[in-house]
């Protein structure tokens, strides 16, 4: 995913029901619904665009438990 230098939101495919609440919640269009299908039969969401500001909008909008975890990039010089 090439997220070493940016914030990102990690979506656990096994916990995602593909509702797309996170997709419409993200102010930077970082998340999309992929084409793969998970074990429950849902087309799950995935983090796709590296413009994440770690705002947590996707996280708070998601109705599942722990489907999304948001990571903040390392601080400069850290």
């Amino acid at each position: 995913m090439g997220t070493e230098e940016s914030n990102y939101s990690q979506i656990n495919p096994k916990r995602c029901k593909g509702c797309a609440a996170c997709v419409v919640a993200c102010p930077h269009g970082c998340i999309e619904i992929g084409s793969e299908i998970n074990q429950m039969g849902y087309q799950f969401a995935r983090f796709a665009v590296r413009k994440c500001i770690a705002c947590g909008m996707c996280f708070y909008s998601c109705p599942e438990f722990g489907a999304i975890t948001v990571f903040k990039k390392p601080r400069k010089g850290a």
Partner: protein, 481 residues
């Protein structure tokens, strides 16, 4: 190194084993608002540091299984009754943080009176009201909050005011009462609104931690499945259709309630005071000398009207006066007189787990049907006290001790058939040693109001003592009389 900014709350279990061990998804439909609200509440519980003292009262509805998700104390309540359960917990568990989580069918339909009264009493609890304008769990029937024109299974042509009335504004109703401190309506229609909901949920819980009083947050929440749309469409529909009917915003946020929760506690009447008002127990009997040979599992049975239940209460009160632990559990038919009745009394030095007595070690039967019904339930080595006036056969069991006492005949001679059970109880007291005669003599005047009946029962005790002296050899274990 990346750092975690937002992650699953600690107050949610790592896995949810309802469906299968290790499962980690909810049972909610994709895009359901319940899950979002659960996450927000769990995060607030974490941040306030109240996980180990939170008690979550879940409703009937789609969120009936909330206890599979929240790693806190949980009670699943009868439909609409969560506020009553929460009130009871509030008043018995001072440090508990009590959450009542309810849907619109639960809170505004079947449970409307519960929520109004809990709010009106200003219970220091937090209510999260999930308004999805429909009955989710049962398949999409009209709810009190269904909006006009909305199609549901039970309003297929749309809700009509003339037929089904208007949608009920719960936040407004609660805000019309004096006692609540915090009432806010929020929406899950979009991420910014979700963040507002998050703030309201935190505030409503913090109020309780600070013992401010009753807080309610109404949350407009999508039910995509029963609204028959996608999760994304449902959020748009919520914004365009529910929000105009149920305006979001804070309706009340008081710095403190109309009464201080400490005053509320002080306002409670003590048990002692209640007894005083009722005119009983002015004179507290407390002897506390008895050492039980064994825990007493006592059953008394007879016709209704033979004093079965009241004799049971008398025994339990004597046990209390002895400083023992006791329970009294009555069982009777619908008829006040003439039916069958029995009462179970446990007496112990230890806390009693269950009030039920299935296999007594002491049985008192006032008539033949009761002897027939319960003789076989007595534990080997136990005792049966028979009113032989009305149960004229002998006890058949050989592994129990039987006392056949013509109590009704003796009582009749004494001047009142009502005291038959006290004659038997006296013999039981002397044989078992569970209560003393002295205690019985002190408790009877407190338990019986009419003076002439007190005298009658005092004489019954004397007769019981005499019967025991004449019929029971010194070592009571040898008796078969």
């Amino acid at each position: 190194m990346h750092t975690i900014k937002h992650q699953k709350a600690r107050s949610l279990y790592p896995t949810f084993d309802r469906k299968a061990p290790g499962a980690d998804v909810s049972h909610y439909c994709p895009g359901c608002g319940h899950g979002t609200v659960h996450n927000l509440i769990a995060e607030a519980i974490d941040d306030l540091g109240i996980q180990d003292r939170t008690i979550f009262c879940s409703p009937v509805g789609c969120s009936v299984f909330a206890y599979y998700y929240f790693d806190v104390g949980n009670i699943q309540c009868a439909h609409g009754r969560a506020p009553a359960v929460a009130s009871a917990i509030r008043r018995t568990h001072e440090e508990a943080i009590v959450i009542s989580y309810q849907g619109d069918g639960d809170l505004a339909g079947i449970g409307m009176s519960q929520i109004v009264h809990a709010a009106n009493r200003g219970e220091n609890i937090t209510v999260f009201f999930i308004n999805n304008a429909i009955y989710g769990m049962t398949g999409g029937q009209m709810a009190p909050t269904t909006i006009l024109g909305q199609n549901t299974v039970t309003t297929p042509a749309g809700r009509l005011a003339a037929n089904e009335g208007f949608p009920v504004g719960v936040a407004e109703i609660i805000n019309s009462l004096q006692a609540p401190v915090f009432v806010e309506r929020v929406s899950l229609a979009g991420p910014v609104k979700v963040m507002k909901a998050r703030m309201a949920i935190r505030k409503a819980l913090r109020n309780q931690v600070e013992k401010k009083g009753f807080s309610l947050v109404e949350i407009l929440s999508p039910c995509p499945v029963n609204w028959k749309m996608t999760a994304v469409e449902s959020r748009r529909w919520l914004e365009n259709n529910l929000e105009p009917v149920f305006p979001v915003g804070n309706l009340r946020d008081l710095p403190k309630g109309p009464f201080d929760q400490v005053d509320k506690k002080k306002a409670r009447i003590s048990d002692r005071k209640i007894l005083e008002i009722l005119g009983v127990g002015e004179e507290e009997v407390h002897t506390g000398t008895v050492r039980l040979k064994e825990e007493q599992n006592f059953k008394i049975a007879g016709f209704g009207g033979q004093g079965v239940l009241s004799t049971g209460i008398l025994l339990a009160n004597c046990a209390i006066a002895e400083g023992l632990k006791t329970t009294w559990l009555p069982s009777y038919g619908a008829e006040m007189r003439g039916g069958t009745a029995n009462a179970s009394i446990n007496i112990s030095h230890e806390t009693i787990g269950s009030p039920i007595v299935s296999f007594p070690n002491a049985l008192m039967v006032m008539n033949l049907p009761s002897l027939d019904a319960f003789e076989d339930t007595v534990r080997p080595g136990g005792a049966i006290y028979v009113n032989s006036s009305l149960a004229p056969r002998k006890v058949r069991r050989e592994d129990v001790t039987a006392y056949h006492i013509p109590a009704s005949d003796i009582a009749n001679d004494l001047g009142g058939i009502q005291c038959a059970s006290v004659i038997l109880l006296t013999v039981y007291a002397l044989v078992s040693g569970a209560i003393t005669i002295e205690t019985l003599q002190k408790v009877i005047p407190l338990a019986i109001k009419r003076k002439n009946l007190v005298d009658l029962n005092m004489r019954a005790i004397e007769v019981g003592i005499a019967w025991h002296r004449e019929n029971c050899p010194k070592e009571e274990k040898t008796t078969e009389v």
